[in-house]
Amino acid sequence: MDILSHVLLGAQILFTPTNIFFCFLGVLMGTLVGVLPGLGPTAAIALLLPNTFHVNPVSAIIMLAGIYYGAMYGGSTTSILVNIPGEAASVITCLDGYQMALKGRAGPALGIAAFGSFIAGTISVLGLMLVAPPLAKFALAFGPPEYFSLMLMGIVILIYLASGSILKALMMAVFGLLLGTIGMDAISGTQRLTFGVLELADGIGLIPAIMGLFGVAEVITNVEEEIKRELITAKVKNLLPNLQDWRDSFWPIIRGSVLGFFIGILPGPAPVISAFTSYAIEKKISKHPEKFGTGVIEGVAGPESANNAATGGAFIPLFTLGIPANSVIAILLGAFMIHGIQPGPMLISKYPDLFWGTIMSMYLGNIMLLVLNLPLIGLWVKVLKVPYPILFPLILLFCLVGVFSLNYSNVEVALMIGFGVFGYLARKFQYEMAPLVLAIVIGPMMENNLRLALTISQGDPRIFIEKPISALFIIVSLVLLLSPFLPWLGKRRKKLQEKVEGEEV
């Protein structure tokens, strides 16, 4: 296993004019599509897939992979600038990223997102290169019980995202879980709350919900008052992160990358989970957790790195086992098969040029992304300078078209508007959006896996504790749930101690 020779092989494959061009094209298309709210990597890849048939498989995969993480990066741009996440994983970036933009620090936010993503992407590609096969086994060890416990832990983590009232954040989370039940139940086939609308059979679409809660609601809230908008852009000073920013972001980026990579191996909505887990971790170990949600750079650096690293991690099950980790990778898998490449454990040994060529293209792609996006930061900031009376109809337009073009469904557009109303009112009443959205993502998976696990064990709940990985997550969840109370215990002891000392003196 001579890694250097593999790397050279990959480089040889990659550095041909054709493949470099395809890498660039993929990254460009991906970023463009990612920036447009509503259109995600799935749409981009589906659009460009036909064009790949005329080229050889390696070039095709290189381009498609480029689209994937280009789109992931593009999604953060809109999150920071206008508080509209490009896809679910970017929801977390909105929390602090947008606040930074409001304070005139959009440049550093975008910059650290770019650099963080680059570093994370590089780390995850390194990981992919070095440890792909053993890690694949790790992914297989996750079955329904493990997934349920992981999701449960995810829900508990959601609490930590709350910057305001925890009770209200929890209420939104439970509401999200309930909304997640709408649709056809996978296990029994029963229609739940679909009211005869076939579009709802797959549940409430995530994109209409996000666009409504974040996009529409945000715009409508802004429309209430005149002026004010210009003030924000006038204060934009630096376009890049300064030294302090780097110092603050360094460890979050490293932590986020490693975390994201490992979570990314697991099939499922890995970028989402890694992004908010990273946020929760950064908040927990930060010296100033109360500042999270007001625009701290760690809140952008960590999650952005995590979701990019998860993107790299998602390739592992694809290359080693032929299993798609999410719907985007599923398309890539289909592309393999259409090009006559048989996916499975033998893929790396049978098609080394494909594997190593793609890996090298990821390095190159990450560099291209950085080079492409940094100069664009100046451009994006200028976009913000467009007077709001003219800008906001365009934002709304993007939301409308983005949602409609997903499934050409007016039902989903109506859903978005409905969520817009709800989001608008929720802001008024001081409820937070993020727990709701994340619960809608996690809820169905959690419920499904709970019932699957119980079906397999025929009703025996001990399966969750008997399986080691699952037990681990459950323990962590309990610890997280109880830990807010531990400092209180600690404080009491300290007070007692002080009292005693005071008396002694």
Binding site: V33, L47, F175, V216, L396, K428, F429
Partner: protein, 155 residues
């Protein structure tokens, strides 16, 4: 009445209603047992939990301390007009997208919002509306090949 108290009460009642709705609904689909949850399991327990939390919030408005809310519901007296107009514009877009076709409805939508929410001059309005509908058309239909509706006028 203190604003914070009033708003939290209203929202608590809303979520109370939602919670009750779900656990009542859950009874019409199978709830199942703890060992064998049915399709109604999560709606039922989720509804119960939400109801309990709403009650807790409601009680807090009577007894506990809540963070104060300073903003009034509508910051400016005519805010509600703009909010309502924008929502209606969105709904109208959805309804008329298919009959009128993408390019036309986009033009009308942008023009309406630019002109009537934060009024700009007619020149500005027309320029922005035309540019955006044409650019959007080129981007989405021609470049990205999304199938957006053509209205009765055929474009």
């Amino acid at each position: 009445m203190d604003k914070a108290i009033r708003y939290n009460r209203i929202s608590a009642v809303f979520f109370l209603g939602v919670g009750v709705f779900f656990f009542l609904y859950a009874r019409s689909v199978e709830i199942g047992t703890w060992n064998e949850p049915g399709p109604g399991f999560l709606p039922f327990w989720g509804g119960v939990v939400l109801t309990a939390m709403s009650v807790a919030l409601l009680l807090m408005t009577f007894w506990g301390k809540l963070p104060p809310m300073t903003r009034s519901f509508f910051p400016q007296s005519d805010s509600w007009k703009r909010v309502l107009a924008t929502f209606l514009a969105l709904i109208a877009y959805n309804i008329f997208l298919n009959p009128l076709g993408f390019t036309l409805i986009t033009f009308l939508f942008v023009a309406f919002l630019v002109r009537f929410i934060f009024p700009q001059t007619w020149t500005r309005t027309l320029v922005v509306a035309v540019l955006s509908s044409v650019a959007a058309r080129l981007l989405f239909v021609n470049f990205l090949e999304t199938q957006l509706p053509k209205g009765f006028l055929g474009f």
